[in-house]
């Protein structure tokens, strides 16, 4: 039982980080209708920024300041990428634009890898592998932090899209660009802001991915776990991204805990993609595709 609860907890924790990345995909997709494959590079860029700012004895900033600063910097980087590389492509086929985001990802990763260097870099997180014991079950603090961060992000995004003038403008743009323009909403700014939000969330996720284990030149691969998450959740659903991320984390943790020997040591790593295939077979549009309101 303790083993099961441990897997459950770790899965939800790790899944929270996947959900943060998946949220970035969804925010960009909803505004621009483009699947951005630049998320992995933004994730490691954010983690690297945290590492430079907060790790080591001569850290520039305390960890708690470094994280929001890194989120801001990554957000600005993402908005810059949108402005320079994606904006000129407005009106081009979404497939073309998606390919460009792959190019952006590769370029950014080359630059970030230079910054990471050949060794593993710590991100300067205060948790490491420390554990608190609740009701006899040992819980890793980093997983608690991931869940708390995801909860905060969901609440903040929810309020932003509901009450903020700009958040409402983003939703309006997602639903009907011409209507948004006709109300004086600058659709270009909405695109840039979507990228900025996705970049900031990716940075936060990157920091979490780097806790305890650190980051290296292969860390970006973890961001790909968000792909099964958004396919499970549906590309245009915030709630779906969250559920998708958590499900991927859970499946991975449960498979890692209970996998029979004949499946091999590392089946947990591919389990999210097996899940992806299964979902696609049953529900090609994901489990949370938006239902449209229509008056009959």
């Amino acid at each position: 039982m303790a083993r099961f609860l441990g897997a459950l907890f770790g899965g939800l924790g790790q899944g929270s980080a996947y959900a943060l990345i998946a949220l970035g995909f969804v925010v960009i997709y909803r505004s621009t209708k483009v699947v951005s494959f630049a998320q992995p590079s933004l994730m490691v860029a954010g983690a690297t920024a945290v590492s430079y700012l907060a790790a080591g004895g001569d850290a520039l900033l305390p960890f708690w300041v470094a994280v929001p600063v890194a989120m801001l910097l990554t957000g600005l980087l993402a908005a810059g990428v949108e402005r320079v590389a994606l904006r000129p492509m407005v009106g081009k086929p979404v497939f073309t634009v998606a390919i460009i985001t792959i190019g952006v990802d590769i370029v950014l990763r080359v630059i970030v890898n230079r910054l990471i260097g050949v060794n593993i870099r710590a991100v300067g997180d205060p948790w490491g592998l420390s554990v608190v014991t609740v009701g006899g079950i040992p819980l890793q603090v980093r997983f608690l932090a991931m869940m708390a961060a995801l909860t905060l992000v969901i609440a903040a995004l929810g309020a932003f899209f509901r009450y903020a003038r700009v958040g409402l403008a983003m939703r309006a743009t997602a639903h009907d660009q011409e209507v948004a323009l006709a109300q004086g909403i600058s659709v270009g700014s909405v695109f840039a802001l979507s990228w900025a939000i996705a970049g900031a969330l990716a940075a936060l996720a990157g920091m979490f991915v780097g806790t305890s284990s650190g980051i290296d030149q292969n860390t970006w691969i973890i961001a790909l776990k968000a792909l099964p998450a958004i396919v499970i959740g549906g590309l245009d659903s915030i709630g779906g991204a969250v559920v998708g991320g958590l499900v991927v984390g859970l499946v991975e943790a449960l498979v890692a805990t209970y996998q029979p020997a004949w499946l091999g040591e590392n089946f947990a790593l591919v389990s999210p993609y097996v899940l992806l295939l299964l979902v696609l077979l049953v529900r090609p549009y994901g489990l949370f595709g938006t239902r449209e309101v229509e008056r009959v």
């Binding site: 403008a169 639903h175 323009l181 006709a182 004086g184 449209e292 008056r295």
Partner: protein
């Protein structure tokens, strides 16, 4: 018929620019879609501040295209102004993007209402207030709810579930949230029952009396000419008539082609004559 032509006083005074006449003017405008499809072929039109101007024309004449050109929405449709100009109070505006034009006080209500179906009524209105930065949202909501009390009753409802008439009112209310000087209405009576058309018509008059200038695109010529001071008839991208509404209402061709009057079974010499006239319009 309200007999307000050509200038209805409205609230013009304080808003009117000091130099020159306050007018939205289109001159010799040519618009092309996809670089090749010539849709407007030298259109000129004037909308003096405070007036209601009607723009009539059959399907595909280019009415919507003209509104898009004014409000900067051609880009979205791969359209482009290739000749001519659009000016507001003498300043050229046809190079500006839609958000800039909205901030100058020109708002278009798109054909087919286009309410944000999954938003509540109030959220739709708040989107309309996007350009009204620095103003009190509550005041604008009150002003719109006073014009359209039904929206106040429905404010928490999902817009997609409103009736057609209510959706039209929401679309108009949304545009009015930023208190525009000019309101461009694209077929507001489309698909509405006669009683609702009456209601929309009265609302347009009320909006105009509160000081908003209206350019009204309509297929329902009776309704439009009933409240407009001046009317234009567009045929395949050209203005073929440009007269005070009263004159248009009395014109035989307009009566026949746009009001469905004057036919009464006489299909002889007159038909031939009208056919010729129509051909002239089309050429």
């Amino acid at each position: 018929m309200t007999g307000r032509f050509p200038y209805h006083a409205g609230r013009g005074g304080p808003r009117r620019r000091s130099q020159g006449v306050a007018v939205l003017a289109v001159s010799n405008l040519e618009v092309v879609y996809d670089d090749v499809i010539l849709v407007l072929r030298g259109v000129s039109l004037q909308v003096p501040q405070g007036s209601i101007v009607a723009l009539l024309g059959a399907n595909g004449a280019g009415k919507t295209t003209l509104l898009r050109a004014i409000s900067g929405l051609l880009d979205v449709h791969e359209g482009e102004v290739t000749k001519g100009r659009i000016t507001l109070d003498g300043e050229e505006i046809h190079h500006l993007d839609a958000p800039r034009i909205v901030r100058l006080g020109i708002k278009q209500v798109l054909e087919g209402r286009r309410v944000l179906a999954e938003f509540t009524v109030e959220e739709n209105l708040r989107v309309g207030a996007h350009a009204a930065r620095g103003r009190a949202l509550g005041d604008d909501l009150d002003r719109v709810f006073t014009l359209f009390p039904v929206l106040r009753d429905r404010r928490r409802r999902t817009a997609g579930y409103l009736s057609g008439g209510e959706q039209q009112m929401l679309a108009m209310g949304r545009a009015l949230m930023s208190d525009p000087r000019y309101l461009l209405l694209d077929e507001p009576s489309l698909g509405l029952a006669p009683l609702l058309v009456q209601q929309i018509r009265d609302l347009i008059v009320a909006i105009n009396e509160q000081g908003t200038t209206v350019l009204l695109v309509e297929q329902n010529a009776t309704m439009a000419l009933g409240i407009a001071g001046h009317g234009y008839v567009l045929e395949t991208g050209k203005v073929v008539m440009d007269k005070p509404s009263a004159d248009l209402l009395a014109d035989d061709d307009v009566r026949e082609f746009y009001l469905g009057l004057g036919g009464d079974g006489r299909r002889s010499f007159r038909d031939v004559k009208h056919y010729k006239r129509r051909k002239r319009w089309l050429s």
